[in-house]
């Protein structure tokens, strides 16, 4: 399936990415060629085939609902771009 310039812009926005206006046509063409490659799947009859999520068919392991983590806020915020009094700083969201 081909995707056009406006389609690429829309998907990029969903992914929180921007594409420069002068690159959008080339990006749409490249993404279209990738989609064309993967579209060869559509010719395969998979009626009744169960999707495979884990190659050994393992199921998600659950742990007891207990707190095991220690509070490491300062260490974990050590690599944050901007923090203040233990909070991550972002531009104002609510006017």
């Amino acid at each position: 399936m081909a995707i056009d310039a406006s389609g690429v812009k829309k998907v990029a926005k969903l992914a929180r990415l921007s594409i420069d206006d002068d690159a959008v046509e080339v990006t749409a063409a490249t993404i279209s060629s990738i989609l064309e490659l993967v579209d060869s799947m559509q010719a395969v009859d998979t009626l009744g085939v169960e999707p495979l999520a884990h190659p050994l068919d393992a199921i998600q392991r659950l742990r007891p609902d207990q707190v095991t983590e220690e509070n490491q806020r300062e260490q974990l915020q050590g690599c944050a771009p901007a923090v203040e009094e233990g909070l991550f700083l972002v531009p104002r969201v609510i006017e």
Partner: protein, 506 residues
């Protein structure tokens, strides 16, 4: 290029075709471990030798993003003390390098991306922690395709890695830095990760041994995630025996990784010398069809003939859905990547744009500035495949095909013990020759992707040269059959010397 350090007493130019005795950096982990045990060399001396070689040769090869010189020497001194106290194992004091997507506490973990150029990991990955606890020395962190997306190591924020055998060639990817470092003898061994061939293909292109274990065999905790249902860490070494030694340290259950499997870990070195008499090798006819370079095919067939001399039987098998691994992988991996990489939002860690005008601007500009072209492409493809209305046609369809591909292998293994074939259609291609054509690059992954989709273990061992560049034989096993693959690789290396060859560095 830095001047020669006084501790470097060994000849710097070394080629296995000469008659000189092996200098210590040309020895395997197994040999170095014995030399450390006998007191022939200390870990500090061995570590210094590698640090000097990195300084001399890596400016050109670019296999390291970070060299942790002071930490390495400190760890080496501690390893020597530990050995003196009688508490050593096979990895104690051995200098290794880690792919720069394993979190290493207090050390930059960039994943080859501008996004994480400023990221000092606040915790240690299970794999690197196991090496640290075993007393191994970390020389540094190796270059890679950004977020492990690539087959050539050209997609790195830190520049491409060069193949030590021919610096105009790619080393393969995404674990290209680890492969090049081991091939150039800048580390005794290295860790890599393999989502679609990223250990086996660079090992093949650089003439070293590399193993992708069964999905769930090695913990993914602390590995920066690319495609979580496919990612698996493994060793990259100069011999199958060394891969067994490293895997002994890496493998095992980990509560921190919910997909890690609780399955007994054998001693991978214990069965290396087992006989191959009666082994049945399956050759998938689809792996020897059009598109395979004739010189590569010749080397693979020569290797299989060697196995027949060792007592193995060969038969043709079929993997009828093999060609579908490319479309299935290039939906599943980007879809999972688009989800995994949504955590890079410029808020909690990683790159943040200057002066965001609002929260949306912060997200969009931080991500657009932080990610490279191939990463953005895969995020867009994955977002598209998961978006409303397309999920069934893409992700679900790909997961159904994934089952067909896995079942092909299970059927083939009813007729044979292991499967052999090439890792890639050609030996390493030239840097720049495919970088503008992502689809052509994706097609070169044809022989490796299905092993990840099926969750199987795969091993690449050096098997000759094609077009003056190394070629590896890929050996694919049944789930949890790592010990047998390493045994099969080791017996080949007892009978051949391809793995002992090393590039002459200048």
């Amino acid at each position: 290029m830095t001047a020669l350090s006084p501790v470097e007493a060994e000849p710097l130019l070394y080629n296995t075709t000469s008659n000189r005795p092996n200098p210590m950096y040309d020895k395997t982990i197994a040999e170095q471990s014995r030399a450390l045990a006998s007191g022939e060399i200390s870990s500090v001396e061995l570590t210094q030798t590698y640090l000097d070689r990195i300084r001399l040769f890596d400016g050109d090869i670019n296999s390291f993003i970070t060299v942790t010189e002071a930490l390495a020497l400190e760890q080496a001194a501690a390893a020597d003390q530990r050995r003196a106290a009688g508490d050593a194992n096979a990895m104690t004091g051995i200098p290794v390098a880690h792919k720069d997507l394993f979190c290493t506490q207090g050390v930059k973990t960039s994943c080859g991306s501008k996004m994480l150029d400023n990221f000092i990991a606040p915790y240690e990955s299970t794999v690197t922690g196991k090496f640290r606890d075993a007393g191994a020395v970390m020389l540094g962190k190796t270059n890679m395709d950004e977020f492990a997306m690539g087959s050539s190591n050209e997609n790195s924020h830190y520049g491409p890695v060069k193949n030590p055998w021919d610096k105009s060639a790619i080393p393969g990817g995404s674990s290209g830095g680890s492969a090049a470092a081991v091939a150039a003898q800048l580390a005794a061994g290295a860790t890599g990760t393999d989502t679609g061939g990223s250990i086996r293909q660079p090992a093949s292109h650089c003439g070293i041994t590399g193993m992708k274990p069964t999905y769930g065999r090695v913990s993914r905790w602390g590995m920066v995630a690319y495609a979580s249902s496919l990612d698996q860490a493994g060793p990259m070494t100069r011999s199958a025996e060394d891969a067994a030694i490293m895997l002994n340290t890496m493998a095992g259950f980990d509560n921190q990784d919910s997909t890690c499997l609780d399955h007994e870990v054998p001693d991978y070195t214990a069965t290396l010398n087992d006989s191959l008499e009666g082994l049945t090798i399956g050759l998938p006819k689809e792996y020897f069809a059009a598109g395979l370079d004739s010189e590569v095919e010749q080397q693979i067939r020569n290797a299989i003939a060697e196995y027949e001399k060792l007592g193995a039987n060969v038969k043709e098998v079929s993997l009828p859905n093999a060609r579908l691994c490319i479309p299935a992988y290039y939906v599943i991996a980007p879809a999972e990547a688009s989800s995994n990489l949504s955590r890079f939002d410029g808020v909690r860690f990683g790159h943040r744009c200057e002066d965001p005008k609002d929260l949306m601007d912060l997200y969009i500009r931080s991500r657009s500035e932080g990610f490279g072209e191939e990463v953005k492409r895969r995020i867009i493809v994955g977002t598209y495949a998961l978006s409303a209305g397309y999920y069934d046609a893409y992700y679900r369809k790909a997961q159904q095909i994934r089952r067909l591909i896995r079942d092909d292998f299970l059927n083939a293994f009813k007729e044979c013990d292991v499967i052999m074939g090439p890792n890639a259609p050609t030996s390493a291609f030239d840097i720049g020759s495919m970088s503008n054509d992502p689809v052509a690059m994706y097609l070169s992954d044809i022989y490796t992707l299905s092993v990840n989709l099926a969750g199987l273990p795969g091993l690449s061992v050096p098997a000759g040269m094609a077009n003056q560049r190394p070629v590896g034989l890929q050996i694919i096993g049944q789930h949890f059959d790592e010990a047998r693959l390493l045994n099969i690789g080791h017996r080949f290396q007892q009978a051949t010397d391809w793995h002992q060859k090393s590039p002459a560095l200048v």
